[in-house]
Symmetry: C2
Subunit: 365 residues, 2 copies
DNA sequence: CAGGGTGCTGTAAGCGCTTACAGTAGCCGC
DNA sequence: GCGGCTACTGTAAGCGCTTACAGCACCCTG
């Protein structure tokens, strides 16, 4: 790799002039510029990021931290983020914590390589987040409550959950169960809160039929099994995400229970499988790529726009009404025509946008 | 962010000593070391990667280039890569080319930030690959034929495709069609070659019933539609990947054709949906995480091991025999118990490992 | 007691760039 | 003919670190 010195020698100028040319910056005589450009081309010179970054004190890169890349959730968000960042000329570093114990150290190390950090969920301790933010590093938190003056970006949960639950009540269900762990994440907590709010509004109690479950399929299966074998079987299962819902499908199948006739099921996330499984799964779609892109824009605002005061953004979600809730939509699921985003096809069947921050329906939480 | 100078002042030593302590390197008196450590802790000093990298001439990071993160394929490989790299203390930069025209420039830019590059598929021109490799940058190619002295890592296609095709012939099929574009990628080309080899071996011709299709569902749908409406309908569709197979499901459903009774279908990749769709999809699983991890190991060998001569690795694939090929396995798909890798459950139903480089079955290509 | 280790620490030269500042030349107006 | 522009280019000081080399005690050996 040739350095700026070789180019300077080759073109018969000083390194300052080469720098000026290669950064398209200050004024350089047309003739000199030509000579330098020629030398750069001849030598195949490419400025070293390291030298440049060191001199300018900026990395031109940001990092994104996620617990695991499993499932469409994280990869979609990362894709949206990467795309937006690349468009803005920024590089992206990724770090999966994978439940490692020294995740905080890895994040701190990563922090030294970037101009800003996006952190998804509860992968990093509040302590580290606050410390980094205090150190002046721009931070965007995804699906996580505000901390240390960082920006946050999330999707609407509460109202969507309430609307979904009301929808089930509208189908005549009176014994509804929630499967998920409200404490595991803010998202799950808000879905649970929305679920409860809808029940309370309809004069019902939720607790007796609610069971904890992680976001994993097999835990959803276990929870559903317990519920379905109980004395008073719930007739509708509101699951904290699609994978849990998938688990309940298995549990229902084992017991010869038909969905949605014997028990209605709903999920959350609208993973690809939701459209293919039988019956198709009523769920809530989150705009994951948009969430990633939003995070990138928030980051840019801080890194290049100089914004300091934190922003907290919320993106709307969308109810995807399919068959598992009891709706009778015989519309066959057509193959996906959207070549650019196979995981985000146009809504099939009925769908309902749920805007954030709207309390129009009067749910109290 | 405090620098090494502040720490040195605080501890009353020179920056060289601080450096020695913070790199755990050379000999430093126990007492001095303690004082420096204390100063580091007091100031919350974290060595600048930039300075360190500039001085050492190494980045401590590698990059991975992919066309798009859509679908489980790329995200799984990236996850495997990231995990392995993080374990080795390396950072990972990602770059999606998204069909951008100036992808080559982005890659060149990325190349300036890393010690090595992993490139998936045909995202980057051979020209750039060769140029970078010639420049001394370690490169690992994934699912792509060798170029410019770079390492390659891929999964077994040919034999698996031949075995799969033979399996269908064993079910009595005589009119088999291949849906996919052999020219779009080496993977697809090899699957096509294996398909043809199996047919030739059984004394059949393939061409009449073969139709081109990208890896997208809607193109698979279109191709299948055309085939199924043709004069001589094929009875078995060998699809280049699962998404194409999903498209054929839609086409069959529209025409009232039952799978596998009227037409058998197979896919490739074993995406999550394959186990949930009805009938469950017979397909071929690629060890995607392992592929990513392998790429990382190859990279390490070059970056730290100093290896120079290229290596070309191939990972075995696994036939996942389910119902869509005509097998009668009534084993219900149990929910996934593997909490760590939901997308890589233990094989369900029959499965057959296909080892690379084995020509034991005598397929000639 | 001189000479030569040994053990530790400091000095300073980079690594490749950006950029403030200082020149230098040519040109204008008076 | 000279001061003062303007337009350009060079000098050099960093950015934060690593590391070869030098220096300095101190101790040991002969």
């Amino acid at each position: 790799m040739p350095t700026i010195y070789e180019v300077a020698r080759q073109a018969g100028v000083s390194i300052a002039t080469v720098s000026r040319v290669s950064t398209n910056g200050a004024l350089v005589a047309e003739e000199t510029r030509g000579r330098v450009l020629q030398a750069i081309a001849d030598l195949g010179y490419q400025p070293s990021r390291l030298g440049r970054s060191l001199a300018k004190g900026t990395h031109g890169a940001s990092g994104i931290v996620f617990p695991d890349l499993t499932g469409p959730y994280y990869s979609e968000v990362i894709l949206g983020y990467e795309d937006q960042a690349a468009t803005a000329g920024q590089s992206v570093l990724i770090l999966g914590t994978h439940g490692r114990e020294h995740a905080d150290d890895l994040v701190r190390e990563l922090a030294g390589r970037v101009d800003g950090l996006v952190i998804m969920g509860r992968t990093v301790s509040d302590e580290v987040v606050t410390a980094l933010a205090d150190g002046g590093l721009p931070i965007v938190l995804l699906a996580r409550p505000p901390a240390g003056g960082a920006d946050t970006a999330r999707t609407e949960n509460l109202l969507a959950a309430a609307t979904l639950t009301s929808h089930l009540i509208g189908h005549g269900h009176r014994r509804l169960a929630f499967i998920g762990d409200p404490d595991s994440s803010p998202d799950a907590g808000e879905r649970w809160a929305g679920f409860r709010a809808a029940l309370l509004r309809a004069g019902m109690a939720a607790a007796p039929w609610t069971l904890r479950s992680s976001f994993r399929e097999h835990e959803g299966y276990a929870a559903a099994s317990e519920l379905l074998d109980g004395a008073t079987r719930p007739t509708a299962l509101v699951c904290a995400n699609d994978e849990i819902a998938l688990g309940t499908y298995g549990a229902c199948q084992e017991r010869g229970l038909r969905i949605p006739d014997d028990v209605a099921v709903t999920g959350w996330d609208d993973i690809a499988i939701a459209r293919y499984i039988s019956p198709t799964l009523t769920t809530v779609r989150q705009p994951l790529r948009e969430l990633g892109a939003l995070a990138s824009r928030l980051m840019q605002e801080r890194v290049h726009g100089g914004r300091v005061e934190p922003r907290h953004e919320m993106l709307p979600t969308e109810l995807m009404i399919r068959l598992s809730c009891g709706c009778e939509s015989s519309s066959a699921e057509a193959p996906d025509k959207d070549t650019k985003r196979p995981d985000h096809p146009a809504p099939l069947g009925a769908s309902e946008k749920v805007a954030p921050r709207s309390r129009a329906q009067g749910f109290e939480v």
